[in-house]
C-alpha cells in the first residue's frame, strides 16, 4: 500500500506538463543520438548533460532517463536499417533486424523493435516499483565496512564480466581508482598527484573522464569508418506496424526476455549487451526453427529488444538504491545527480521521495511516449541517419568540449578531455574494457573513505571486514564473481575435450 501511495505521488510529479515536456524532449533527443552509429546511451547522456545543469534534480533525472530510454529505443534503428548498431546493446538487433529489412520487412522490424522495447521497459518498470523500496531498506543496514565490500564486489563483478579478458578488466578498474585518488584527500587534507596544478586540487571530474572516453574515444575510433565511407539508410517506408502472425510469433519471446533483461541489467557491469545477447541465444535454443535465426526471424529481433530495454531499467536499481552505478550510462547520471547535490543511495527514497518516485513514474510515461514517438514517427526520425558523418563527428567533438567547459567553467578540462579521449582510443586498440575504469573512477573516492572510516571505527583492525554476516556474504560474492568465469570455462571445456578424445 505504501508503495502504491508513493507511486501515485510519483505520477503526480511525472505528469506535470513541464516534466512531460522534458521526458518527451529527452526521449526524442535520445532516440536521435542513439540512432547514430557509435553513439550509445552513455555518450548521449554525457554529451547532452549540459541541458540539465539549470534544472532541478527531479527534472534533470527525468530528462536524463528520457535520453537513456530514447537512446535504447533508437540504438536498434541503425542496426535494422544499415546493419550498424548504435551501441553494444543494439548489436543483437543486427542479427535478424537487418535481414528482415533486406527482405523488404523494414516496417515490421522497426515496429516490433519499438513494441518489444516498450513492453520490456514497462515490465521492468513494474519490477522496479516492487523492488526499489525493499532493496533500499536492506541497504540501510550497511556500515562503512559493508559499503566498502559492496563496492569491491560491484567492481570485481564488472571487471570479471569483461568476457575473456578479466585481467584487462581489473587493470582498467585500477586505473579508474587511481584517477579517483587525484586531488585533495577529503579526510586528511593532503594533496595527492596534483603536480602543482590548481585545477587538479578538486580532483578529476569523472564526467570529464566519461566524455573523453566515450565521446572523443568513439569519434577517434569512427575515423576509420569515415575514411571507408558511409552506408546509405532506407528512409521511405510504408505503414510501420506488424501483422497478427508476426505478433503471435513475437509476444512470448518479448514477455520471456523482459524479466531476464531486468535481472541482468541490475547486475553491475552486465548491462544491455549481455542481456540482449542472452535473450537472443535463449530464444534460439527454445525455437522450433532455430535455422531461421540470423535470416530474419522476427522473434530474434523481438527478444533482444525487450531484454535490452528491461536491462536499462534494471541498471537503475543499484544506482538509485545502493548509490553504485551498474553501467556507464547510470554512472553518468549519478555524476550529474552528485553535481546537483543529491546523493543516490538508500536514503534517496526517504529524503527525496519526489525525485525517486517521480523518476520511477516517469519510466512508465517515458516508455509510452517513446513507443508513440518511435512507431508513427520512425520514418521521420531515421532521416537523421542521412546526416553525413563528416558533419556529425565534428559536431559531437564540439559538444563534448562545450560540455566539459559547462561542468567546470575552466578550459583546463580540455587538456584532460584530450588525454582521456586518447586513453579511450588506445584502450579499445589493446582491447581493455573501459566500463570498469569508469565505474571505479566514480566510486573510488567513496570506496577509499568507507575503507578508512571502517579502519578508524575498528581502531586499525582489519577484522571489521569479516565481522558481520553481510560482510562475509559480500566477500563470497566477490570471490564468486572472480571464480565464476574459470568454473564456467572448466565446465564448458570438458564436453569439448570429451568430443575431441572421442574423435
Amino acid at each position: 500500500m505504501d508503495v502504491l501511495t508513493n507511486l501515485l505521488h510519483g505520477f503526480s510529479i511525472a505528469l506535470q506538463p513541464y516534466h512531460l515536456l522534458l521526458v518527451t524532449l529527452g526521449g526524442i533527443l535520445g532516440t536521435i543520438v542513439g540512432m547514430l552509429p557509435g553513439l550509445g546511451p552513455a555518450t548521449g547522456v554525457a554529451v547532452l548533460l549540459p541541458i540539465t545543469f539549470t534544472m532541478g534534480p527531479t527534472a534533470a533525472l527525468i530528462t536524463m532517463t528520457g535520453i537513456y530510454y530514447g537512446a535504447m529505443f533508437g540504438g536498434s534503428r541503425s542496426s535494422i536499417l544499415i546493419n550498424t548498431p548504435g551501441d553494444g546493446a543494439a548489436l543483437a538487433a543486427t542479427f535478424d533486424g537487418y535481414p528482415m529489412a533486406m527482405k523488404g520487412k523494414a516496417e515490421s522490424a522497426l515496429a516490433i523493435s519499438a513494441i518489444a522495447s516498450f513492453i520490456g521497459g514497462l515490465i521492468a518498470a513494474i519490477f522496479m516499483v516492487a523492488l526499489a523500496t525493499p532493496v533500499s531498506r536492506f541497504a540501510l543496514k550497511f556500515g562503512p565496512a559493508e559499503y566498502f565490500l559492496l563496492m569491491v564486489a560491484a567492481l570485481s563483478m564488472t571487471a570479471s564480466m569483461s568476457k575473456g579478458k578479466m585481467l584487462k578488466g581489473f587493470i582498467s578498474m585500477v586505473f579508474g581508482l587511481m584517477i579517483a585518488t587525484v586531488g585533495i584527500d577529503a579526510m586528511s587534507g593532503s594533496k595527492r598527484f596534483t603536480f602543482g596544478v590548481l585545477e587538479l586540487q578538486t580532483g578529476i571530474d569523472f564526467l570529464i573522464v566519461i566524455i573523453g572516453i566515450y565521446a572523443l574515444g568513439e569519434v577517434f575510433k569512427s575515423f576509420s569508418a569515415l575514411l571507408k565511407g558511409q552506408k546509405k539508410a532506407q528512409t521511405d517506408f510504408g505503414r510501420i506496424w506488424v501483422s497478427k502472425k508476426e505478433w503471435d510469433r513475437s509476444k512470448w519471446p518479448i514477455l520471456r526476455s523482459a524479466p531476464l533483461g531486468f535481472i541482468i541489467g541490475a547486475l553491475p557491469g552486465a548491462g544491455g549487451t549481455m542481456a540482449s545477447l542472452m535473450a537472443y541465444n535463449n530464444e534460439k535454443q527454445m525455437s522450433k526453427n532455430p535455422d531461421e535465426f540470423g535470416e530474419g526471424a522476427i522473434e530474434g529481433l523481438a527478444a533482444p529488444e525487450s531484454a535490452n530495454n528491461a536491462a536499462s531499467v534494471g541498471a537503475l536499481i543499484p544506482m538509485l538504491t545502493l548509490g553504485i552505478p551498474g553501467s556507464g550510462t547510470t554512472a553518468v547520471m549519478m555524476g550529474a545527480l552528485l553535481m546537483l547535490g543529491i546523493q543516490p543511495g538508500p536514503l534517496l527514497f526517504t529524503q527525496h521521495p519526489d525525485i525517486a518516485w517521480g523518476l520511477i513514474a516517469s519510466m512508465f510515461i517515458g516508455n509510452l511516449i517513446l513507443a508513440v514517438v518511435n512507431i508513427p514517427l520512425a520514418g521521420l526520425l531515421v532521416r537523421v541517419l542521412a546526416i553525413p558523418a563528416k558533419i556529425l563527428y565534428p559536431v559531437v567533438l564540439g559538444l563534448s568540449f562545450v560540455g566539459a567547459y559547462a561542468i567546470s567553467n575552466s578550459p583546463v578540462e580540455f587538456y584532460l578531455l584530450v588525454v582521456f579521449g586518447l586513453a579511450g582510443y588506445l584502450m579499445k586498440k589493446v582491447d581493455i574494457p573501459t566500463a570498469p575504469m569508469i565505474l571505479a573512477c566514480i566510486v573510488g573516492g567513496t570506496m577509499e573513505q568507507s575503507f578508512r572510516q571502517a579502519i578508524r571505527i575498528s581502531d586499525g583492525s582489519l577484522g571489521i571486514f569479516v565481522g558481520s554476516g553481510l560482510a562475509l556474504g559480500l566477500i563470497a560474492l566477490t570471490v564468486g564473481s572472480v571464480a565464476f568465469p574459470f568454473i564456467k570455462t572448466a565446465f564448458t571445456k570438458k564436453p569439448e575435450e570429451k568430443m575431441a578424445k572421442a574423435s
Binding site: F193, F401, Y405
Partner: protein
Amino acid sequence: MTTKTAKVESQKAAFKPDYNALMGFVVAAFGLVYLIMTFNLKRSAIGDPLAPLYFPIGLGSMLVVFGIIQIFRSDIKKSIDSIKQMKNASEHDKKINRMIAFTCGAGVVYALVFEHLGFVLSTLGFMLAMLTLTDRKAFTKNLIVAAVFSLSIYLLFTNALGIPLPKMPIIGF
C-alpha cells in the same frame, strides 16, 4: 615488382598485431611510477601520517602485479613483431593516426585561445578545423556549419540554459 608489392600488402593485411606483452610492460611501469610518487607524497599532518598513502600503495602494487601477470600470459615475440610492424603501418592507419593527432592538437589550441578569443570565435575556429579534417573540399559549407554551431550553442547556453560562456573581446558576445 607489382606482384612483390601486392605480396607485401597482403602480408600486412594478414598480420594481426598483438600488443599484450607491451601493454603489460607499460602497465607495470606505470604502477611502479605511481608507487614511487605515492611514497614521495607529503605525510598527513593530522591523525595517522600514512593514512592518505595506504589506498594508493595498494593500487600501485596491484597494477605492478597485474602488469607482470599480463607480460607472462602474453606472446612476447609477437608483441615485438607488432612493434616492428608499426613502421610498416598501412596508409589507412597512418591517415587515422594523423587525424587523431590533428584533433588532439586542435583541442590543445582550443583550450589555449578559448578564454582569450571568447566562445564564438574560438569554437568557430575549432569546428572549422574539425570539419576541414573530415571534408577538405567543402570550405564554404564547413564555414556555414561552424558558424551556425558556435552561434546557436552560444545562444542556447547563455540565454536558454543560463550557463555563461566566455565573450569575444570588444564585440561583447
